[in-house]
């Protein structure tokens, strides 16, 4: 089993890297790109035999306490089969 955690800057926090990437894409001939927000992606391997029901709370705590800084970032947790 695997889990995926996405961490992105809050909408209210300026993302100069994303803005620079968007400008680069536009100048490469992609006028359809209106904006880019850069974030982090974590692929997490879950030990075999772990009950799926118990996972969500723990993964959310990991995201909240470690992987994201809630002052500036938000996160999304997905558990895959």
């Amino acid at each position: 089993m695997k889990a995926q955690i996405y961490v992105t800057l809050k909408k209210t926090v300026l993302d100069p890297q994303g803005a620079t990437i968007a400008r680069a894409l536009q100048s490469m001939g992609h006028p359809e790109i209106a904006g880019v927000r850069q974030g982090k992606f974590f692929e997490i391997e879950i030990a075999e035999g772990t009950p799926k029901e118990a996972l969500s709370a723990g993964l959310n705590r990991i995201a909240e306490d470690v992987l994201a800084n809630p002052v500036i970032e938000e996160y999304r947790v997905e558990i895959l089969d």
Partner: protein, 223 residues
């Protein structure tokens, strides 16, 4: 007065801080190892600049789980003095001892240059020796020094006079020109500029001494 300088893997201003305290301020300084929990009776703990744990995940994010940080938190809760410089400031915000966060500089560049600062308040153990209206020249050296916090937090910091330092010419996009902040109890301060790198004429400025002199002046021996 005794200063403890924490050494994390990746700290690189620890010796600068130790040198500034013991040679230019004239007080005792001792290194504290990140995996220890003993502050060796330090009166003021300095979290120095650098790249603790390689800046992995986010600047300061791993350091907040180090054993020494538990002892630093206890020291702070008991009213002990704690100063975070640069990466040390990032560690203090990550660990919740100071509000807000430090993100990538607005211009995306790592900036290493002297900057001009003003003290936002003289009512703190870190700024009391700074003459009124005096501008300090102190170097910065960071890529993630843009201070951000919610509007509500920024208003609170201003209302409670907890902005320790402000940039005269904002180099990194920090909200409200913030270069350093204090906690509510005013015994913990974090700043992005490096006062330890401005403590003798050879370094180009001695203005950083005012920060250390403030600490010495404010310190009341209890032991």
């Amino acid at each position: 007065m005794k200063f403890g300088v924490v050494v994390f893997p990746g700290s690189n201003c620890d010796h600068d801080a130790w040198y500034a305290v013991s040679h230019n301020v004239g007080h005792q300084a001792e290194f504290l190892w990140h995996s220890d929990t003993d502050l060796k009776q330090s009166d003021c703990v300095i979290l120095p600049g650098g790249f603790s744990y390689g800046d992995y995940l986010r600047c300061g994010a791993i350091a907040k789980f180090s054993p020494i940080l538990g002892a630093v938190k206890k020291h702070a809760q008991a009213g002990g003095l704690v100063m975070g410089i640069c990466n040390g400031f990032q560690i203090l915000t990550e660990s919740g001892l100071l509000p807000g966060a430090l993100v990538r500089n607005r211009g995306l560049k790592f900036i290493c240059a002297p900057v001009r600062l003003t003290a936002g308040t003289r009512n703190s153990p870190f700024t009391n020796a700074i003459p009124d209206g005096r501008q300090l020249t102190i170097p910065i050296a960071h890529g993630e020094g843009c201070y951000v916090a919610e509007q509500r937090v920024l208003d609170e910091l201003e209302a409670e006079e907890r902005i320790a330092f402000r940039y005269v010419d904002n180099p990194n996009g920090s909200l409200r020109d913030i270069a350093g902040v204090l906690n509510k109890e005013r015994n913990v301060m974090g700043m992005m500029p490096h006062p330890e790198r401005a403590t003798e004429p050879l370094m180009g400025s001695s203005d950083g001494l005012l920060v250390f002199e403030s600490l010495v002046r404010a310190f009341v021996p209890t032991k």
